[in-house]
Amino acid sequence: MENNLSSITSQELLDKDLEQRSLDAICVNESTLQHEWWHNIKYVIVGTLFGIVFIKAEIISWFRIQEMFRFQSFHMYGVIGSAVLVGAISVALIKKFNIKTIYGETIQFHD
């Protein structure tokens, strides 16, 4: 194992790792930057806000999901529809204006 690994370059190893991580997954980290651990705290904060929205809009509620699949309420369709609309417009704007990350990296999409 060690001998095999040393015969290929580190870039090949990185590519192989990204390939492996992307396998059958649509959610991968495209950043190649190395950061101190505390840079990750921002994801905890985004997650926290996201979690509050999920609870407060009752999106995770068993009752709301039953209503949705029985077409008895517009709530969930409104949430999903407006979320996709805002997400799609954001992605289109990022592509069109080539918006960079806060670290100046080009934002990657794999489609």
Partner: protein
């Protein structure tokens, strides 16, 4: 302020906020929004078991685990600090139908009449909690993403596979809620 936060938020507030998560994660660090991948990273970090699918540098995806940790923290905050003291308001027809299955408690986001420790060892409870939990995990892995990854991120990026996943999800949910769940609830 707390009173406003405690009320259930309408769709036109929650939907755009969820949509904004997509560009936020992209701009903060080139991260594509998703939740279920965290299960894979946990497997890769705890028990790769020699399976190639789990052999990658999971530390690069540690952001995803922290994002999910944040969702958990957000749940605790919203469920305690901004807790809605009123019972959930749902469609009257659904309420009557559920009452026929003995579901009358609306104090929680999930029906405590169904999901409780005593029910876990009954056939109905076991199907609803363990079997269905397995199906959720299996389907998510088989599709390569869950609702958040495919519907929110995938559709935002106009990806065909995500549209297929979204349609399948809706069809599956429709069949389950209308034709299969009534039989399970009658057990």
């Amino acid at each position: 302020m707390i009173e406003l936060l405690s009320k259930p938020w309408p769709w036109y507030v929650a939907g755009p906020l969820i949509g904004l998560t997509v560009p936020t994660l992209l701009i903060l660090g080139n991260k594509t929004f998703g939740i279920s991948s965290s299960f894979r990273h946990i497997c890769a970090s705890c028990a790769p078991a020699g399976i190639p699918f789990f052999q990658y540098d999971w530390k690069k995806e540690v952001w995803n685990l922290l994002f999910v940790l944040g969702i958990f923290i957000g749940g605790i905050i919203a469920g305690n600090l901004f807790l809605n003291p009123e019972p959930m308001v749902i469609n009257e027809n659904l309420k009557q139908e559920l009452a026929a299955y003995g579901i009358t408690n609306y104090s929680s986001l999930v029906p405590v009449d169904l999901f409780n420790w005593d029910n876990l060892l009954t056939i109905k409870g076991f199907i609803l909690m363990v079997v269905v939990g397995f199906l959720v995990g299996f389907g998510t892995r088989y599709a390569g993403g869950c609702t958040s990854g495919h519907v929110i991120m995938g559709l935002s990026n106009l990806q065909w596979p995500s549209l297929v996943a979204t349609i399948s999800l809706m069809v599956g949910g429709f069949i389950m809620a209308n034709f299969i769940l009534p039989f399970i609830l009658k057990i």
